[in-house]
């Protein structure tokens, strides 16, 4: 079914009884040309682009739970392309361009809203760093505008500009940055992949990876064994466990990142605001809730929930930056499991096992990468070659020293 | 040499009295860090405790470290690394029945469990603190550079508690 405005109106007139399931619920076949482990944003977009760009349609996406039940359904929805290092810049730039055409591409409203992202700075040194970053973004073909203090005030008059610890010197505005509806991205890609013949198999946990003579031949699942000559592991958060089935240890430690949503409020924050020095960022959802978060809890965890000291830290930072949110009531908080790598950048690469590919290590920035990650992973799985914008996301870069340490914080998983 | 006038870390701050709690600056006198070469040395305090030695006190301040407060170093130099910390730390006293309630808002340790002669190295808000249980309340040691901040934090909490009690 193709969605359109007319369709919405006619369905509305007749009680919305004509909507059917958006994707099939097929039983797994015994063999596919390729299998994607993980039915989150990245896995679904990989399947979609395998089908669309490379004509590979005899493929399955295996999901342990239901489509979009992992991090793609539990993040703070920020979409941006404001990276500095070659390797990251071109990748996220490519991703943002895909985002800008995504709704037309998928015929699905992902509510992509380019409301502008402002990164605040609080010292001369930090301003210089942001000038460099802004220039790097412009060189890449993306947009960046340096705002002085008064410039920031015009956009964000409600900030506490006079705070003593981090007085606001200015900000770097990235007008094309913004947010999108997280679930809709998963649903849109799922629908698109399904329409192209991809089998989306839910409630199907992979329990083993079959390897013969150094080459992958299939997987074992809770719904039987499935053969395939190409398998992609796209299981952010659980990458370590799935890779262990293939006898691999990854440069990844899983950490918990908390986020918070308040009750719905009238529109008051019409940008994405990032307060890096306080580890705090915030935006307002279309429902009106303030969506905000901070840094990871800092210890390895699969618990999907964090601890109170980080809650307090985030609230303190929020109150430091914008005291006006003090009366807003927090409705809920949650924790997502983050694949943290030693340099803070992801991995899209082959593995030592022939036919086994990995897309992992998205740290806490995987949402904005969903389109390009799938695009590049599909390219890698179909052609055996890294895509031009993802060629630095190598699995062995930690050993060879070709790190992509955007923040320059050093080789420790939780520091990024 | 010119005789310089020493200033206390809080520059002679007057005590704050509110709702049965008194916050005041304390002159610590000489403070010396004692780090024994062998941790089993006699006279060294057990973790979280204070050993009184006449007017002086030896306060456990961490693994293999104690602060000798208000007394001369004596023989410690022979068995431990000693470092003069005088003027590096600020002393505060928080006395009165409500002292434990005030600190409960800032210190993540259950201070009701501390008896006189106990101490704890922990945090006051975000800053490092040594808490010593004394008769009628607590003595707090913070870095001298943090003295004003510590006072501000404590004074704010004392005020808030007073307002809550007055409701």
């Amino acid at each position: 079914m193709r969605y359109s405005g007319l369709k919405v109106i006619t369905q509305g007139l007749f009680g919305n009884k004509g909507w059917g399931p958006v994707w099939r619920d097929p039983a797994p076949k015994g063999e596919y040309d390729a299998i994607i482990i993980g039915g989150g944003g990245h896995g679904l977009s990989t399947a979609y682009y395998l089908a669309k760009n490379h004509g590979l349609t005899n493929i399955a996406v295996l999901e342990k739970g239901y489509i979009g039940s992992g991090n793609v359904g539990r993040n703070t929805t920020i979409v941006r392309a404001n990276y500095f290092l070659p390797g990251n810049s071109e990748f996220y730039s490519h991703s943002l361009k895909l985002w800008e055409g995504l709704e037309a591409e998928l015929n699905y409203n992902v509510m992509h809203s380019q409301r502008g992202l402002i990164n605040l700075f609080h010292s001369d040194g930090q301003r210089d760093a942001f000038v460099r970053r802004g220039n790097a973004m412009i060189n890449q073909g993306d947009d960046a505008i340096l705002l002085d203090r008064e410039g920031v005030r015009q956009h964000l008059p409600y900030l506490d500009f006079e705070q003593t610890r981090f007085p606001i010197y200015g900000g770097l505005l990235h007008p094309r940055g913004g947010t999108a509806r997280h679930d809709a991205v998963a649903w849109g890609y799922a629908r698109g992949a399904d329409q192209r013949g991809v089998d989306l198999i839910q409630n199907c946990e992979v329990t083993g990876i079959d390897i013969e003579g150094g080459r992958v031949v299939g997987v074992q699942t809770t719904r039987g064994s499935i053969r395939a000559r190409k398998v992609g592991m796209v299981v952010a958060g659980r990458s370590g466990q799935v890779a262990a089935m293939a006898g691999m240890r990854l440069p990844i430690e899983s950490h918990v990142l908390q986020a918070f949503v308040t009750e719905g409020l009238k529109p008051c924050i019409d940008h994405v605001v990032s307060f890096g020095m306080g580890h705090f960022y915030i935006s307002q959802s279309d429902k009106g809730g303030l969506v905000f978060g901070g840094d990871i809890d800092f210890y390895a965890s699969y618990a999907s929930r964090g601890n109170l000291p980080m809650v307090e830290h985030v609230m303190e930072a929020g109150m430091t930056l914008m005291p006006m949110i003090g009366r807003a009531k927090v409705l809920r908080s949650w924790g997502g499991i983050m694949d943290m790598t030693p340099d803070g950048s992801p991995i899209i690469d082959k593995t030592p096992v022939d036919g086994l590919f990995i897309d992992a290590g998205w740290n806490y920035g995987g949402f904005k990468a969903v389109p390009a990650s799938g695009w590049c992973m599909a390219h890698l799985m179909a052609t055996g070659e890294s895509h031009a914008v993802a060629r630095r996301f190598r699995l062995d870069r930690f050993k060879t020293g070709h790190l992509l340490d955007e923040e320059g914080t050093g080789s420790q998983h939780n520091l990024h | 040499m010119v005789n310089l006038i020493a200033k206390s870390p809080l520059w002679g701050q007057a005590p704050l009295v509110s709702a049965g709690v008194t916050l005041a600056e304390v002159d610590l006198g000489q403070v010396t860090s004692i780090a024994p070469f062998d941790m089993a040395v006699p006279g060294f305090p057990a973790p979280n405790t204070v050993v009184a030695d006449g007017a002086a006190r030896l306060v456990w301040t961490g693994r293999g470290q104690a602060f000798l407060i208000g007394g001369p170093v004596g023989d410690w130099a022979e068995v431990a690394a000693v470092t003069d910390q005088s003027d590096g730390w600020a002393g505060l006293s928080l006395l009165g029945a409500g002292a434990v309630d005030v600190l409960a808002r800032l210190v993540p340790v259950d201070l009701r469990r501390l008896a006189v002669g106990d101490c704890a190295r922990t945090q006051l808000g975000h800053m490092a603190v040594i808490v010593i249980a004394v008769a009628g309340g607590f003595e707090l040691l913070v870095f001298r550079s943090m003295a004003q901040t510590a006072w501000h934090e404590l004074a704010t909490v004392i005020k808030m508690r007073g307002a809550r009690l007055a409701c």
């Binding site: 390895a300 030693p342 | 993540p108 340790v109």
Partner: protein, 99 residues
């Protein structure tokens, strides 16, 4: 989450700094790049019981080896790294709800 420090007793998580896996305790041989790579970067990353290095940063400044379940956050043992590690459970009854 509360961690029972062998020296200080039960303390809030905020007093501790998390360093990482106990892998950091094993020094790889100089020149063995595979071992250095594994030491610095590669992790078992288990969902279950792990042993990690924590530092009692705001307390007694002891380095601790904490046995903790990464799924439940339950802490089952804490030992000091120095002095061969004297287990806390042998010396102290864990506080009610001290996880």
């Amino acid at each position: 989450m509360r961690i029972t420090c062998p020296l200080c007793g039960p303390r809030d998580r905020r007093e501790f700094y998390y360093y990482g896996s106990e892998d950091y305790l094993t020094q790889p041989a100089l020149g063995d790049f595979d071992a250095i790579d594994a030491h610095l970067h590669l992790r078992d990353n288990l969902a279950g019981e792990v042993r990690d290095l924590w530092y009692h940063e705001m307390g007694c400044a002891a380095w601790l080896l904490v046995t903790r379940n990464t799924v439940t956050h339950k802490i089952s043992d804490v030992v000091q790294v120095a002095g061969g590690g004297v287990g806390i459970l042998a010396k102290m009854k864990p506080e009610e709800g001290a996880l």
